[in-house]
Symmetry: C2
Subunit: 292 residues, 2 copies
């Protein structure tokens, strides 16, 4: 497993463009997990991607209010054979300039972002050297997984919070900028357990350019460097593809009003089923199309 | 004035990454205008950038509910010596695949987006061939200006709507994905006329990674390919630089509660004053720093 090492310049940047592939190096995997992780194969697959026993996993516990969540995941990764798993407890924005932690982060082969409140992640990490380094390392081939709040945080457009329910309604979702590893998906997690189809559809109704990714609990959406999504876990990943949307009423909808959204396509991807974010094609025996 | 011409491939893409510079070609200018345009020099400067009398300006009237706004701007650009100014009335999402309009858009040297409701722009254009072409053309050197709603629409993170007032409060702003020409700024317009400092600060409190750009009426923020912002017009551009923010309380704030945001720096840039989005340095005799 060869992951490019950061140079001094890595830590010296002032401002940075979005995460983007550097020359010919493929981007790392981006792996939103829907929370309530039980399936051992999810972390196992992440560990293998990151180099197996040679992996160096940086854990970001910032979203959580549980003080020992970092230690919990350090132990969990050790159980998966990773000797080098370290929690970097970026609690305040000033922590995000910590030289030692940034050096550790910069040499990690994988980054794992724990759950909690995703606004703690954006408010603490947003725009700091730590966030920029995560973007840059992912662009350079390092894999980034996040569970629950950590999953929401991964993409450019993040669902901060919202209401439950299957029907999209104006104002039912609050969005803001996330970490920005990709702008091609908007992630929602605890997806069917918390009945979040409505808020994901609302997020997409504002601007039907991204693909909606509803990730169930104990389930991961493994997004490859080539932008193919594959489900791993006991639940499903619900894909909302808006590429054929004919109409969204969001510009005229009053607060709380149900939104008209015509032509969205929904795929439910069980274990092993895939969806290509570029060609917008779903594949896999376990996937079935609800509407076409 | 030489602007690279689109190839057949330009129109054949299925999905596209964010607007990004292609090899060595500098990106076009991005020019948010605060609405209520009176100052003749704003459009004049845009026209000169686009090639003067040889310019081809595509006008996007989609945000407006006034049926003759496109004709109004066609006439306005002719008055500025541009013989080729054409309104492309993308009214429905299906219009955004119109071959003739896309061809015209693809050969424009400048794109001007009129005001109205920015959600009409995102809901109609988001994810369509027309929006992708605008992103790609800007990355290839074509200049894009937008006034009022058109200004809000330009960046990756767009303020959809929000409340007035100087104090940032949880939930006072609704954001969504915009056109995505840059993710380095969040634009607000009619800025001091509608007392929008609070909602801009709220947008930045969610994730202090972008620079806030509050553009007054009759004023433009000319953002160069090198990401230097320069004010042109009778008002000012208010820069909110969050690079030294120590703390944002957004993760813990209840709806309507005032947000604590510590360490934001504010610059007010009058005519000719500049702010570098990369180095975060303000410059110019007419600029004064409110807090440092």
């Amino acid at each position: 497993m060869s992951v490019p090492q950061p140079t001094t310049a890595t830590l010296a940047f002032a401002g940075m463009p979005p995460s983007r592939p550097e020359s010919d190096i493929p981007r790392g995997w981006i792996i939103p997990i829907g929370g309530k992780l039980v399936d051992e194969e999810i972390l196992e697959r992440f560990v293998v991607l990151c180099g197996g026993p040679a992996a160096r996993i940086a854990i970001i516990p910032t979203a959580s209010s549980e003080p020992d969540i970092g230690t919990f995941y350090e132990r969990d990764f050790r159980r998966h054979g990773v000797a080098q798993a370290k929690s970097l407890h970026f609690e305040r924005r000033s922590d995000c300039d910590d030289r030692d932690w940034l050096t550790w982060l910069g040499s990690a082969t994988g980054i794992f972002i724990a759950g909690g409140n995703q606004l703690k992640l954006t408010a603490t990490l947003g725009g700091t050297l730590a966030a920029r380094l995560m973007r840059q390392r992912n662009a350079a081939g390092v894999h980034v997984a996040g569970t629950s709040a950590g999953a929401a945080f991964l993409s450019e457009h993040m669902i901060a919070y919202g209401d439950e329910g299957p029907t999209p309604r104006a104002g039912m979702v609050t969005m803001c900028a996330g970490l920005g590893l990709t702008n091609r998906v908007i992630v929602d997690q605890h997806f069917r357990q918390r009945d979040r189809l409505g808020r994901l559809l609302t997020a997409l109704a504002y601007n039907p350019f991204a693909v909606g990714l509803g990730v169930d609990e104990d389930t991961a959406a493994f997004i490859s460097p080539e932008d193919v999504v594959e489900t791993q876990g006991s639940g499903a990943v619900t894909i909302v593809d808006t590429s054929d949307v004919q109409y969204s009423s969001i510009a005229d909808a009053k607060p709380g009003e149900a939104i008209t959204l015509l032509g969205a396509k929904v795929h439910v991807l069980g274990q092993g089923a895939t969806f290509d974010l570029t060609t917008r094609k779903a594949d896999g025996a376990s996937a079935f199309v609800i509407s076409d």
